[in-house]
């Protein structure tokens, strides 16, 4: 049985169809990349799956339970964690306290939450930033803290929304390591939205491509990068025609 099954998910915002009849499955242990041009509906897809937006039609099954109607916090408690793309870190919570909030989902003891949070920060090599406020640390570290916070909820699946956006190549390298260790060492199934192709193609086992709200392709990274539909979505029809010989 698949860990996550999305059947015919459609999401309309008024007259705009942000997700159009999208179906896919995620098996336990997968590391799936979701790519697509800007405005394709990737983040909306995450928001729908994680229960932040009620969906217009379709069905979502997570770990054998129908979560279509569940709210965001209920879905989280079932074991689906996520990070957010735009996160204005304005609060007065320190890095350690942020991760503790995640850990508090599984325990009501402050001591236990603290111990767990410290453990996770160590795993993420963030322990020397523990006492800083989120806004005081570099963006790359902030992204890793939000990942650590999500991991604190001890999820079965982790949805990462553009964790590498705006980072330089050494920082991307570091984030890739973090993603791999979440996936391999902590054995958490990962789904990630990403624009940085270097990262997606490197870490994912499978890639789903979304364009204008529709799923246009799914497959292993190599096939996807040669798929004419995908190239068309990114580079336009003309490019595909002009370079058809090379693409074959």
């Amino acid at each position: 049985m698949a860990l996550l099954e999305v059947h015919n998910l459609t999401k309309n915002f008024g007259g705009l169809t942000a997700n159009d009849n999208i179906s896919f499955q995620v098996e336990k242990g997968d590391l799936i990349g979701i790519i697509g041009p800007n405005g394709a509906g990737k983040t909306t897809l995450f928001n729908c799956v994680a229960g932040l937006h009620p969906i217009s039609s379709g069905q979502i099954i997570f770990d054998g339970k129908d979560i279509t109607e569940l709210k965001s916090h209920e879905v989280a408690r079932l074991g689906m964690a996520r990070t957010f793309q735009v996160y204005a870190a304005s609060g007065d919570l320190s890095v350690l306290e942020n991760v503790m909030v995640g850990c508090f989902m599984r325990t009501s003891s402050t001591l236990a939450a603290k111990v767990k949070a410290k453990e996770i920060l160590k795993e993420f090599k963030l322990e020397n930033l523990s006492d800083y406020l989120l806004r005081e640390i570099p963006v790359a570290a902030q992204k890793r803290v939000t990942m650590a916070t999500a991991v604190g909820t001890q999820p079965k699946i982790l949805l990462l929304d553009e964790v590498a956006a705006g980072l330089n190549s050494s920082e991307i390298e570091e984030i890739m390591g973090t993603i791999r260790s979440i996936h391999n060492k902590l054995a958490i199934t990962v789904m990630l939205i990403e624009h940085v192709m270097e990262l997606v193609m490197n870490v994912s086992d499978r890639v789903i491509v979304i364009d204008s709200g529709k799923k246009i392709a799914e497959g292993n990274p190599e096939d996807i990068s040669n798929n004419p539909d995908v190239i068309k979505a990114y580079l336009g029809e003309r490019y595909v025609q002009e370079h058809s010989a090379e693409l074959r």
Binding site: A50, L52, K71, S72, H73, A76, R77, A81, R82, F84, Y87, A88, A89, S90, G91, D92, L93, E97, N98, M100, V101, G102, F104, M105, T107, S108, S109, T110, L111, A113, T146, T149, A150, G152, T153
Partner: protein
């Protein structure tokens, strides 16, 4: 066990804070032994009462970031429950106070459930409206004395009556409220480190992120609103026995609601010491300004102008109040 340990554990504060706090605790304990005016005594009692109001407000307003401007209605619920029960049935304070808390908390759930669908300024305005409506209802409700209010006559009792909390000398009230004050500090000290406290701070930061971490945002706010309400209601009950003459116009006015919120914001919302610092500044100022200036014609209300100005200055310099400034300086020094 861990709960109790956390309540008494202040070790995450720098030593200087604890020293200053220790000195103040000592001063509070011995204050009545020194010669003092009745006016100074009354001001001190007011200070403790408003500190407690502020601490309660601080849970939902400070840690949770939900600006509540309707706390006076719960002062009224507590005060009138105690007064009615005492006058009509001679029920002791220690019984009527928890009953008042129950009424207040039930009312807070009924209000909180719809009101927390609103956010930001809309929530604040709705709390003002709810509080004013309840005040108006009390003003036409004969059972609670309507607009005339209620008067507890001490003649029937034999002061010092600890059961009914009827005393002749203010010193008894002083120590009773001081005990409540210490309990309040211990509670908030536990609260800020509790799961709910952390969840609330996360909600203040970003509600969508909080939800994604399994927090039922609506319910967490309602729960904390009830905690804030319980604080206020307890002090409301005390207020009835202490003042002995309560009217909806005094106990449930918008002024009280705003003063409660202002104190916490001036001192530093979302910090343990903030509401106490705020009350320590505003209450003496309010009392003494009234005393000095209030009597002179044409100067009525100047106290309001002065604390309006202070609030503006503080919020322009540091929105997190006086304690925010202290923490800012400390963080800068630490680097």
């Amino acid at each position: 066990m861990e709960t109790l340990k956390n309540a008494f554990d202040f070790s995450d504060f720098p030593r200087i804070d604890l020293t200053v706090a220790g000195i103040f605790v000592f001063l509070f304990l011995i204050f009545p032994l020194f010669p003092h005016s009745a006016f100074a005594m009354a001001t001190m009692i007011q200070f403790f009462m408003f500190s407690l109001y502020g601490m309660g407000w601080n849970t939902i307003g400070g840690y949770g970031g939900q600006v509540d401007l309707g706390k006076a209605q719960y002062v009224g619920i507590g005060a009138f429950t105690t007064a009615v029960m005492l006058i009509r049935w001679n029920i002791p304070f220690w019984v009527s106070m928890p009953i008042g808390v129950c009424f207040a908390v039930i009312w807070s759930f009924m209000l909180g459930y719809p009101l927390f669908r609103l956010k930001g300024h809309y929530f604040a305005i709705a709390t003002i409206a709810a509080s004013l409506v309840l005040k108006d209802l009390f003003e036409v409700w004969d059972f609670v004395g309507a607009a005339r209010g209620l008067e507890i006559s001490p003649v029937k009792y034999n002061p010092p009556d600890f059961l009914h909390l009827i005393f002749k000398e203010d010193i008894y009230y002083y120590y009773v409220i001081l005990v409540f004050f210490f309990i309040g500090i211990l509670y908030v000290n536990w609260f800020r480190k509790s799961r709910l406290g952390f969840q609330l701070r996360s909600i203040k930061d970003n509600e969508e992120v909080a939800q994604s971490l399994g927090i039922n945002v609506h319910w967490a706010k309602i729960k904390t609103y009830a905690i804030a309400t319980a604080f206020v209601s307890v002090v409301g009950s005390f207020h009835a026995c202490y003042i002995k003459n309560i009217e909806p116009e005094d106990t449930m006015s918008l002024d009280i609601s705003i003063l409660i919120a202002l104190m916490a914001m001036l001192g530093g919302a979302g910090s343990l010491w903030g509401p106490i610092i705020g009350a320590g500044i505003l209450i003496p100022m309010k009392s003494y300004l009234k005393e000095w200036l209030g009597a002179q014609a044409g100067l009525v209300g100047i106290d309001l102008i002065i604390y309006g100005a202070i609030i503006m200055l503080v919020s322009a310099a540091e929105p997190r109040g006086i304690w925010g400034i202290v923490e800012k300086v400390r963080r800068r020094k630490a680097k």
